[in-house]
């Protein structure tokens, strides 16, 4: 085909210039691909951290307000157990009645980080206009202190505190909440028929460290739960240790001295569409003014540490650097194409004299520019892959510090006695930085290459379109 022959010969004739233009575009496009890959890697790391907290498919999370930590020296709330140490040993007091604590085990399953919300509000949230689905959950903390019999005596042992997080899962909405993000590695997950059963699914990390497996039993404030499955959560989160049916968590859990029956402390919400998330957030805030309403994006903004800094770096510096390099590459390509057209005025004038229409000559020049763009794009994708591989190979693990929805229960002990509370905790996790080139990044690179070629060619084409054959031939003469 004449078009291809002519195009190929011209590229060969201007080999050095073609390589220069293609390389310029390659560097620009390679940088865009690398930055996009890094950005995608950071986003994935953020997503892993967030999904491990709130689960896949959750757009909005509603939590009760965090409880205030008790002030030093204040009286314990009515019905609360306190633990006191004195010269005669340890005592446990409740409602003013004290008994010797030696040999006792104090065990609580409390609402971990948030005050409770009535379960009826879950249905109310689910009925909101832009809400697709809503599920309630209970993030609880099982805290126990075993007081040895010889505690307080000379040479006696110290109390052993133990704490792990328990998540009450709505078995009728398993696609929402932290369990949805996990993958079952052994046994099975919870199902609808487990709603009132004493069955539990364990986090793989907790199961390994406590040597538990499917078929084992796990004790939650003295109740035995049969382990039916083990799940692994995405790296980067701080998952609950045990997942049990919501109804069982409500039956066993307490908030201070109150039962949690008919209550939840977290509502996981899926919006009808991504565009509806801000509206849903407002609607829920109106319905539950005291609750904290968090979206994935607002939570992402609360993630701090090097992950956050890298995300900012990729989004801000990376993006602008890519744009700057691309603009430079496009400008250089356009100028060189203009210069090439200027050198070929006689050639184009002759072609016009032969009866070539301007648009045919423009197509020829555009074809050459786009071919250079595509070569540059292909090289740019290669550079992008190389850049992504280098980032993955040399980037240190990123740290992400996030507010934990399942905060650890803190046991404070002092002269006035010991008490426990659950502040809003933060935890820092290490997230591996993996820059991966996505199909959309490659598509964007091809698009940029074509755009670069078209842009470079269009300046030359504009000149050709204005070229009068007599002028072109006379100028040379």
């Amino acid at each position: 085909m004449f078009f291809i022959t002519y195009l190929w010969r011209e590229l060969r004739r201007r080999m050095r210039q073609a390589i220069f233009i293609a390389l310029g575009l390659a560097v620009g496009i390679g940088l865009v691909v690398t930055v996009t890959a890094a950005s995608a890697g950071v986003k994935k790391a953020q997503s892993d951290v967030l999904s491990s907290l709130y689960g896949v498919g959750t757009d909005v999370t509603v939590t009760g307000s965090p409880p205030k930590p008790p002030s030093t020296g204040s009286a314990p709330p009515k019905g609360a157990q306190t633990f006191q140490m004195g010269p005669g040993g340890a005592t446990v007091c409740q409602n003013g009645k004290c008994s010797n604590a030696a040999g006792q085990k104090i065990d609580h399953l409390d609402s971990a980080g948030y005050t409770s919300i009535s379960q009826s509000k879950v249905a109310a949230v689910a009925k909101l206009k832009d809400v697709k689905a809503a599920a309630g959950g209970l993030a609880l903390s099982d805290t126990s202190i075993s007081i040895p019999k010889n505690f307080g005596q000379a040479g006696g042992s110290l109390p052993t505190p133990n704490s792990f997080n328990v998540d009450g899962v709505d078995t009728s909405h398993l696609s929402l909440g932290p369990l949805s993000a996990g993958s079952v590695t052994s046994g099975r997950s919870l199902k609808g028929s487990d709603a009132n059963s004493d069955v539990a699914v364990l986090d793989s990390g907790y199961a390994t460290s406590n040597k538990l497996k499917v078929g084992s039993t796990v004790s939650i404030i003295g109740h035995k739960f049969k382990v039916i499955g083990i799940v692994a959560q995405p790296q980067g989160g701080s998952p609950p240790a045990v997942y049990i049916p919501l109804a069982r968590a409500q039956a066993l859990g307490t908030e201070g001295t109150s039962s949690l029956r008919g209550k939840v402390n977290t509502i996981y919400v899926t919006a009808a569409s991504a565009a509806d998330i801000p509206t849903v957030q407002k609607e829920i805030k109106k319905l539950l003014p005291a609750a904290t309403v968090t979206t994935a994006s607002s939570l992402a903004s609360e993630v701090t540490g090097s992950l956050s800094s890298t995300a900012k770096l990729a989004n801000d510096l990376g993006r602008w650097l890519s744009i700057l390099v691309l603009i430079t590459a496009f400008a250089v390509a356009s100028l060189l194409t203009m210069a090439a057209v200027a050198r070929r005025v006689r050639e184009f004038g002759t072609l016009k004299a032969l009866g070539w229409r301007s648009r045919r000559i423009i197509a020829q020049v555009m074809g050459e520019s786009i071919a250079m763009g595509i070569i540059g794009g292909a090289a740019g994708v290669g550079l992008g892959f190389a850049g992504a591989a280098v980032i993955t190979a040399i980037a240190p693990k990123l740290s992400a510090t996030v507010a934990s929805a399942t905060g650890q229960r803190i046991v404070s002990m002092g002269p006035g006695g010991g008490r426990s509370f659950s502040p809003t905790a933060t935890h820092t996790v290490a997230v591996p930085m993996t820059a991966s080139v996505t199909a959309s990044a490659i598509a964007a690179a091809v698009l940029l290459a074509v755009v670069g070629g078209l842009l470079a060619g269009s300046f030359g084409s504009w000149r050709i379109a204005r070229l009068r054959p007599a002028d072109a031939l006379a100028r040379v003469a």
Binding site: T350, K352, G355
Partner: protein, 236 residues
């Protein structure tokens, strides 16, 4: 073929209007050979551009086969050049990256002719100028005379009615000049072409039927052998 009536072409130059061609009246019939002479800058090339549809007159009428070129739209003018007018330039104006055959083929591209027919016509055109064995050579691999022969093949491959040649031997040595002019004369006779040739060389000009001299944009006919040629042919 051509009928020029009061043709003027003005150019703006440094704030002044310069007439490159003025009040030119001329009739050229099918198969005639007009040689145009004159000093540089006196309108020879402008006249050739007007006749070739590369430029439009400021005023006057240029009829080509009854059509006023000035009234044609750009696309129609381009089509006319593609179909009916062959150009030969002093500097050959070959595309340096294309072979001899591909340069000739370039003239057939606007006509939308199929590849097989194009190849056949290109081979025939190169054979007619004696370059059948140089079809794959790039212009840089050919001598000046050979390059001009490729340019002639390119002009003739589309079988035009008119051949416009602007100083076709200006860049050639004497022997090659004669070779090219002999070839042009032969092709003119064989193909009944209308040949309009701009030259500084009086030896070449004298071989034409009509010899005009451009001076300050005006054309004066110095030689017209058409009558004699017609008489000769009647006597023969």
């Amino acid at each position: 073929m051509y009928k020029l009536t009061d043709v003027t072409r003005l150019y703006a130059k440094g704030g002044r209007t310069v007439p490159a061609v003025r009040d030119l009246n001329l009739v050229i019939s099918d198969g005639e050979w007009l040689a145009v002479q004159g000093r540089t800058g006196h309108g020879k090339s402008t006249l050739l551009n007007l006749l070739g549809g590369l430029d439009r007159p400021t005023s006057g009428i240029i009829e080509f086969d009854g059509k006023d070129l000035a009234q044609l739209r750009e696309a129609q003018m381009t089509r006319l050049r593609a179909e009916s007018i062959g150009f030969i330039f002093q500097t050959f104006n070959l595309v340096p990256t294309l072979s001899a055959a591909e340069n000739a083929e370039a003239a057939l591209i606007p006509l939308g002719i199929g590849a097989a027919t194009r190849r056949r016509r290109v081979d025939a055109a190169l054979d007619s100028v004696g370059l059948g064995d140089r079809a794959r050579h790039l212009p840089g691999e050919l001598s000046g005379g050979q390059q001009q022969r490729v340019a002639i093949a390119r002009a003739l491959v589309k079988e035009p009615k008119v051949l416009l040649a602007d100083e076709p031997t200006g860049n050639l040595d004497e022997d090659t000049r004669d070779e090219i002019i002999n070839m042009l004369e032969m092709l003119w006779r064989e193909r009944n072409l209308t040949l309009i040739l701009v030259t500084h060389d009086s030896t070449i000009a004298r071989r034409a039927q009509l010899v005009g001299v451009m001076s300050k944009g005006r054309l004066s006919i110095r030689q017209d052998t058409r009558q004699r040629a017609a008489t000769d042919s009647m006597t023969d």
